[in-house]
């Protein structure tokens, strides 16, 4: 039996928060770029798309984790999976917060 690479395993556990961080950085940084380059609703569309993609990623990954759960070979593996799913849920909520607020407020002002 091969042991899973531990660092990779821990990073997998952090998938949700990592997506949250990437999403946050992207929508925030994109505002100054969009506002500099073009007028119009560019940034709003960007925020909505990015939010949808980020949420989809987190959801897909969690459902994959959900399917793995019954097969978790040991109690710590089960623990890591459950931590991963709860983190994804929190991260999803965070993404939703940021995305909604971002899309509702006026850009570039």
């Amino acid at each position: 039996m091969t042991k899973p690479e531990p660092v990779a395993r821990l990073l997998r556990m952090l998938f949700g928060p990592l997506v949250w961080a990437a999403h946050f950085l992207l929508v925030y940084a994109a505002e100054s770029v969009f506002c500099r380059l073009l007028d119009g609703p560019g940034h709003s569309i960007f925020v909505i798309t990015a939010t949808a993609i980020a949420l989809a990623m987190v959801l897909l990954r969690s459902s994959a984790a959900m399917r793995l759960k019954p097969a978790a070979s040991s109690d710590h593996e089960g623990f890591l999976l459950r931590v991963e799913m709860s983190l994804s849920a929190l991260a999803g909520l965070g993404i939703l917060y940021v995305g909604t607020v971002g899309a509702l407020l006026p850009a570039c002002r």
Binding site: L10, W20, F24, R36, H76, F79, Y97, V98, G102, P106
Partner: protein, 851 residues
């Protein structure tokens, strides 16, 4: 190789009893503490940890006295007790010392003191590094504090905003003290963080999977990772501001293409996580104390882990909430306001988990429990006002008023000082022959709790009535006077409580390495097993979260030597290295003992930074030389050759040597590379930020160094990489050409340095000057970062070359090379990227992006 398979055959006892005669004596001899004043050369985590905590507490008292001086000055309107400039220095030092010299070191100290005990390790993985961090902090911090007595302390507030702190408005040496002194202490904090990460992930008792790790260890793990990613931002900021002050490179001067707001971004990218860096370990302490005081396991262990990790992430998305009033676009503010709300959820999870635990069991009203309750009440209030100021419209009203002072003390004092006082009372019996007095503890708690609220509750009102923070006095007719008087009275009640607490420690705390009072609370975690200078006599296999509750008789067995590693297998200090997730034993690592080299190194480094501040260049250089020599002496013996496989009991035979990706040293270097990466990312952010703010200063094609000028540096970097590669091939040979290997290492490292020099030369040739504008400053600021990383490669490269010549670097004994290779590869990547950034980006944006 992995001895995991044998596990099934083990039950409770791993080693046969009784243990052979002389085994214990050898163990004691290996871990013997230096006697008398030589104790200062000790590296045992228990000794260094206690020094560390005591020092941090001393700074708490000093900074607290400054707080009292502030309160005295503000007690009545129009007071002239303190002149304005002195007042400014005092509040700046109060905030700075509390945050950097008390709060962070105190929790780091708690980690150093408690983690090995709690994890069943004999010590932390890099004892001398931990001691180095402590000494650097003690010396640097003391000198920094003493500037106050000479009237040369910084006075620009604890967050040091330019332009106020730039050379024009703060011409004195005060700001430099802050920049170099604090920058230096942050480096020591990072050293501690590396030690803690590797310790928590790699030196746990066998069987202590991540799912069974004490919450305090989880919180320290996340704390340390947050330091790794947050501190580099402020280190970069201090480097840039110091370059601006010393050499007039205008990073933060708006009129010359810089931007003062860049400082605020960098500072708060560190500063907000900082408050959680302080709070998370405190929360971890509470999560240990609550189960012990209620007698039931923590409710929601997994949710608390989730909450800690989530806070660790979310807290990096909040920094702009300190900048709501700086004119940032509305939508951006919205992002940060939303994230500030989101972070309240995981904090709330923790509070509810504690309350649920208290509700499940029966809380014994001991002193630690009282402080925990005080913490819950005060911190929750602070959290509520935090959500208030996270709302942009409210913050516009409350910003820079005493409302904020009230809020920040409710979270910091409530969220960190109360848990710390609880922790000191709670863990004292693990290290002292006598526990602290309950009676005195109750008095202390009562006075502190009452005094705190009398002092700080009125400040909410004072703030809402419009009193700004950082004013040295105020007129009588504003209606602020009675509120201020009440605050001052309260602060003295609070101080009386602290005095009682200190008196309690002085009267009752008697450090003892061999016979501490022990488990007086009936707690469940490993630090309550009988502890000695060498930690546990033998290391048990763990199969639950509260081993002391689940495995009766454990204390006796452990102390009789019935478990793993009941003596010293190699005759020196050692601890078991385990796998990061499952906690399965992988190898036995030998630890270094007491010495003076790391003390000299700390003094030298501190001297270098401090003397540089007052522009005593020659003595500073001498200190640097002393530090480097001391470090070489210290490191020279750090990689002992393998002692073969050893038996640690229970049929488990482990290697005594490891190098490469599985070894503790490699992990430390990997984390160091993350620090460097975070520093570099902060730089990229600054570069892009100034470009967004004033893109016109980015030169077009003609003013840039020609693309051809990058050929030489790139060639040098590639050659350097080739040398590294060749050295790796050579090292695999049985019969090693020592001189050839040494030459390759030295040459390769110097080639990388040459690349940096060549590139900077090309920029200079093209007429780019650091003083000219923000762009020029960035180009050379970038050079400073590259010089920094390449100097590290050169230093370690020459060190490895010397070891090769001395026959200490061979195919079997190669940890130094493997660690160097990681650092080197990282440095090459950063330098190649840097060339692309500084030559490519200006060309990219010159291609016709509108500006």
């Amino acid at each position: 190789m992995t001895p995991i398979r044998e596990r099934a055959t083990l039950d409770a006892a791993a080693a046969t009893l009784p243990r052979p005669e002389g085994e214990l004596d050898k163990l004691e001899a290996a871990w013997k503490l230096p006697r008398g004043w030589r104790i200062l050369s000790a590296v045992n985590n228990t000794v260094v940890g206690q020094f560390y905590i005591a020092t941090a507490f001393l700074f708490f008292i000093f900074a607290g006295i400054l707080g009292l001086l502030i309160r005295l000055q503000l007690a009545v309107p129009g007071n002239d007790f303190l002149p304005q400039e002195t007042y400014n220095q005092i509040f700046t030092m109060h905030g700075t010392v509390m945050m950097f010299l008390f709060a962070v070191p105190a929790v780091e100290a708690a980690g150093v003191l408690l983690l090995p005990q709690m994890l069943g390790a004999r010590d932390l993985p890099f004892p001398r590094l931990g001691a180095f961090a402590f000494w650097a902090y003690l010396i640097g911090g003391t000198v920094f504090f003493c500037t106050l007595f000479f009237g040369t302390a910084p006075s620009g507030g604890w967050f040091m905003y330019p332009p106020l702190t730039g050379a024009q408005f703060s011409p004195g040496v005060g700001a430099d003290w802050w920049l170099l002194g604090i920058g230096f202490i942050e480096i020591s904090a990072i050293a501690g963080a590396i030690e803690i990460i590797v310790g928590v992930l790699r030196t746990r008792a066998p069987g202590m999977t991540l799912a069974r790790m004490p919450i305090f260890a989880w919180s320290m793990l996340i704390f340390a990772f947050m330091i790794v990613f947050a501190f580099p931002a402020v280190i970069l900021a201090t480097i840039l501001l110091e370059l601006e002050r010393a050499f007039d490179w205008p990073f933060f001067i708006a009129a010359r293409g810089g931007d003062p707001l860049l400082w605020q971004h960098l500072f708060w990218f560190f500063g907000h996580p900082e408050v959680y860096i302080i709070f998370l370990p405190a929360a971890g302490m509470v999560s240990m104390i609550v189960p012990a005081m209620t007698g039931v396991p923590l409710v929601g262990y997994r949710l608390i882990v989730v909450a800690l990790i989530a806070v660790g992430f979310f807290s990096f998305g909040l920094w702009v909430h300190h900048m709501f009033t700086t004119g940032i676009p509305t939508r951006s503010l919205g992002f940060f306001s939303a994230a500030s709300m989101a972070v309240a959820i995981p904090s709330g999870i923790q509070v509810f988990a504690w309350i649920a635990t208290i509700a499940t069991g029966r809380l014994r009203a001991t002193v630690p429990a009282l402080f925990v309750i005080g913490f819950l009440l005060i911190f929750t209030l602070g959290g509520l006002t935090g959500v208030m100021v996270a709302l942009v419209p409210f913050d516009r009203q409350a910003h820079d008023s005493y409302f904020v002072i009230a809020h920040l003390h409710y979270v910091l004092f409530g969220g960190m000082v109360f848990p710390l006082l609880a922790a000191i009372t709670y863990w004292a019996p693990a290290f002292s022959r006598r526990p602290l007095s309950e009676r005195l503890g109750r008095w202390a708690f009562g006075l502190i709790f009452a005094g705190f609220n009398i002092a700080f509750l009125p400040m909410h009102l004072t703030g809402l009535l419009g009193m700004p923070r950082r004013v040295y006095t105020y007129p009588a007719e504003r209606g602020w006077d009675w509120l201020n008087m009440v605050s001052t009275l309260g602060s003295f009640i609070l101080a009386a409580g602290i005095l009682v607490f200190v008196f309690n420690i002085v009267r009752h705390f008697r450090p003892s390495g061999s016979k501490p009072a022990g488990d007086i609370w009936g707690a469940g975690s490993l630090e309550w097993l009988p502890n000695h200078t060498y930690g546990l006599r033998s290391v048990p296999r763990i199969d639950s979260r509260e081993p002391l509750w689940e495995q009766p008789g454990l204390a006796r067995e452990v102390d009789a030597g019935a478990h793993y590693l009941p003596g010293t297998a190699t005759g020196t200090r050692e601890t078991i290295v385990t796998s990061p997730i499952e906690g399965e034993p992988e190898y036995v690592m030998r630890l270094s003992g007491p010495g003076w080299a790391h003390v000299v190194a700390a003094a030298g480094t501190a001297g270098f930074f401090l003397l540089l501040t007052v522009k005593l260049v020659v003595p500073a250089a001498l200190c640097a030389v002393a530090a480097i020599v001391a470090m070489v002496v210290w490191m020279w013996d750090c990689d002992p050759p393998s002692a073969g496989e050893v038996d640690i009991g229970g049929g488990l035979r482990l290697p005594t040597y490891a190098s490469g990706p599985n070894s503790h040293g490699w992990w430390a270097v990997a984390i160091l590379a993350m620090v460097a990466g975070a520093l570099y990312l902060s730089f990229i952010f600054s570069y892009l930020y100034l470009w967004v703010v004033s893109p016109t200063q980015w030169p077009g094609g003609a003013a840039l160094p020609p693309l051809a000028s990058t050929m030489l540096p790139v060639a040098a970097l590639l050659a350097s990489g080739a040398a590294l590669f060749a050295a790796a091939r050579l090292l695999r040979r049985e019969r090693l050409p020592r001189i050839g290997l040494a030459a390759l290492l030295a040459l390769g490292a110097l080639l990388a340095a040459a690349a940096v020099g060549l590139d900077l030369w090309a920029q200079w040739q093209a007429g780019v000057r650091p003083q000219a504008n923000g762009y020029g400053a960035l180009v050379y600021g970038h050079g400073v970062l590259q010089v920094q990383i390449v100097s590290a490669v050169v230093a370690v490269g020459l060190f490895a070359a010397a070891r090769s010549l001395a026959g200490r670097l061979t195919a079997a004994r190669r940890a130094v090379f493997d660690n160097l290779a990681l650092l080197w590869a990282y440095a090459l990547a950063q330098m190649l990227f840097g060339l692309a950034l500084t030559h490519g980006f200006p060309r990219l944006v010159a291609e016709g992006l509108p500006s």
